[in-house]
């Protein structure tokens, strides 16, 4: 691990000192545990700054901190008894995470978090609104209850890549909101493996009353294209750059005003949607059996308009 810079070390010290002052003292071990650093490192840093003082050099002109036999002692009148104000990153981070936490199922809209965020905004001189919106799909509360209660459920799920609705019996283990969608992690009895389901595609949830013993999940992993899918090379116009920002892609090359993009696709259904949306300047370059897919699906849909 790289050695921390002087700025990083001082930032850490300026967090440690008020923390110790607030507690009225601490052991080196407690500080090491709280700030996730080695005890020897804590001792070295505090020994260094306990000697810091400024003119006219007296006890009241020190940081009021001393290390004695593994205990860190503090003067209640220490110069830096209160923490450094929140930096822009920290203030924004607290507001954003707090607002998102308020939007998840089970959050109390009139609870302590609301009061805390109001006080935080007032203290920050908050004049810059930060709004966090999260969708709440219809099945979310039922699935949250199933996760909380370790209850097996029957779900009706729309599998977009196959364009079909199927019933699954699943043991839900975690719900996570990521990249704008809610995902359910669950053991699927049909495939006998862990699977991830997008909650807005769960059409129906039926309780079974059966408890499962599977451990709580860490949340679904980020979507990784199925290695069993097919590698497809697309030629796209510049206006279809959104595809590279929305879906996992492999190589992306700038070719003239457009792009040449390699991606793994799990089904031709997904590819049909993509080509329809990208328009007439998008086409499949490879593999050969898919080069006519865009015109074919467009022709099929045109028949509906007689």
């Amino acid at each position: 691990m790289a050695r921390p810079t002087a700025e990083q070390r001082l930032t850490r010290l300026l967090a440690i000192i008020p923390w110790v002052v607030e507690r009225g003292g601490a052991t080196l071990y407690e500080i090491a545990e709280r700030f996730d650093i080695e005890v020897s490192e804590v001792l070295k840093e505090l020994s260094l700054v306990q000697c810091c003082e400024i003119p006219p050099y007296g006890p009241e002109k020190t940081l009021g901190i001393a290390v004695v036999d593994g205990d860190v002692l503090v003067d209640p009148a220490a110069m830096l008894d209160r923490p450094l104000r929140l930096g822009p990153h920290e203030g924004f981070g607290l507001l954003a995470t707090g607002r998102l936490a308020l939007a998840v199922p089970g959050a109390d809209p009139s609870g302590a978090l609301v009061g805390a965020l109001e006080k935080l905004e007032a203290a920050l001189g908050e004049r810059a609104p930060v709004v966090v919106e999260i969708d709440r799909p219809a099945a979310l509360d039922s699935l949250q209850a199933a996760v909380d209660g370790s209850e097996r459920v029957l779900i009706e799920y729309y599998a977009a890549y196959r364009d079909e609705v199927a019933e699954r019996t699943v043991d839900p283990t975690a719900l996570v909101h990521r990249d704008g969608n809610w995902y359910l992690q669950a053991w699927c009895h049909q495939v006998e493996a862990d699977r991830t389901f997008r909650v807005d595609r769960v059409e129906r949830v039926e309780r079974t009353g059966v408890r499962h013993e599977r451990p709580a999940g860490d949340g679904p992993d980020r979507y990784v294209p199925d290695e069993d899918g097919e590698s497809v090379v697309l030629s796209l116009p510049g206006e279809a750059r959104w595809i590279t920002e929305t879906y996992p892609t492999g190589d992306v090359a700038e070719v003239g005003d457009g792009l040449e993009v390699t991606m793994i696709v799990a089904s031709s259904v997904f590819l049909e949607r993509l080509l329809l949306r990208a328009g007439s300047e998008a086409r499949v370059i490879a593999p050969p059996h898919l080069t006519g897919l865009g015109p074919a699906v467009a022709g099929r849909l045109l028949e509906r308009y007689g």
Partner: protein
Amino acid sequence: MIGRPDPISLEDLADAPASRTDISHRARTMLHVADRVERLTELMMLLLDTSMSLTFDDIVQRADLYGDRSESSRKSFERDKSSLRSMGIRITTEVAEGDRGATRYTIRPQDYFLPDLDLSEAERMALHLGASMVRLDVAWDEAALVKLGGASPVPLAPVVAEMASLDQLPVLHSAMQARSPVTFNYSGRKRVVQGHGMFYREGNWYLSGDDGEAVKIFRIDRIEGGVKPGEPGSYEPPGRFDAVAAMPDDPMLIGGGDPSTASVLIDSVMAGRVERLRGGGVIERRDDGSVVFEIEVRNLDAFRSWLFGLRDHAVVLGPAHVVEDVVAWLTSIVDAGEHI
């Protein structure tokens, strides 16, 4: 459980290691401030403690931080100021008459210390809990929670949400607070924007603001490069910020196009799902289970994108100009295939 010592004053610390108070001032001037952290700490204490702001000469005279007034000492001082500022410590400067143009420096207590937030223990715990539920990719919130004190760092709840973090976010937020216009490149053009509000929707962060032409929405991850704040106090945003008014949450309503009401027939396979996601809009239910929806459209691109997501399950019935647009789009794809 390790015991916690009682608070004591320094006078009680008979066994504490000797501080430099015990060393004569003459001897102090001979001391080499070996560690830069020590020098930064003392500079910070000095600027924070003084009732009068200090020039570089004052600092050299008062404390043994820089030795002399040489060019190399001056460079060390400049580097130290820069380090403190990079940590978010605001150093106020002034050039007063009678100092032959010398700059005076101070750290005002109100700029340094976190104001008392008056958080109850429940509120402090709620902030910890909220931060432990949401992963922001970076440790911004953890550093802030340490400053707020109180609760332990142990996660109190499993992570239930992840939020994209971008370098531009805190800069834009600070600039809005200070009413500083921000300059950045977007879609290949330089923009100077007076920010009105920021919002997070469907996994993306957006900035709403006036770029001199109109109030526009900028997706923050599409800002090209950094963001430069301008002069503070340069503008006042109009009224209370409303994210939904700034950008409707239905993409088909975003844009300045003439409003149309499209009729779309959805087959029985997808009718229930569309009804649930759109929250209504049904104008006809047919015996075969298919359903006709009425959909307000201001943005034909977004409408086509939604429609093609349904592939064979949907067909547009009217009005004529919307049907013509869809047919023309599909025809152009078919025609392009004939030239492959």
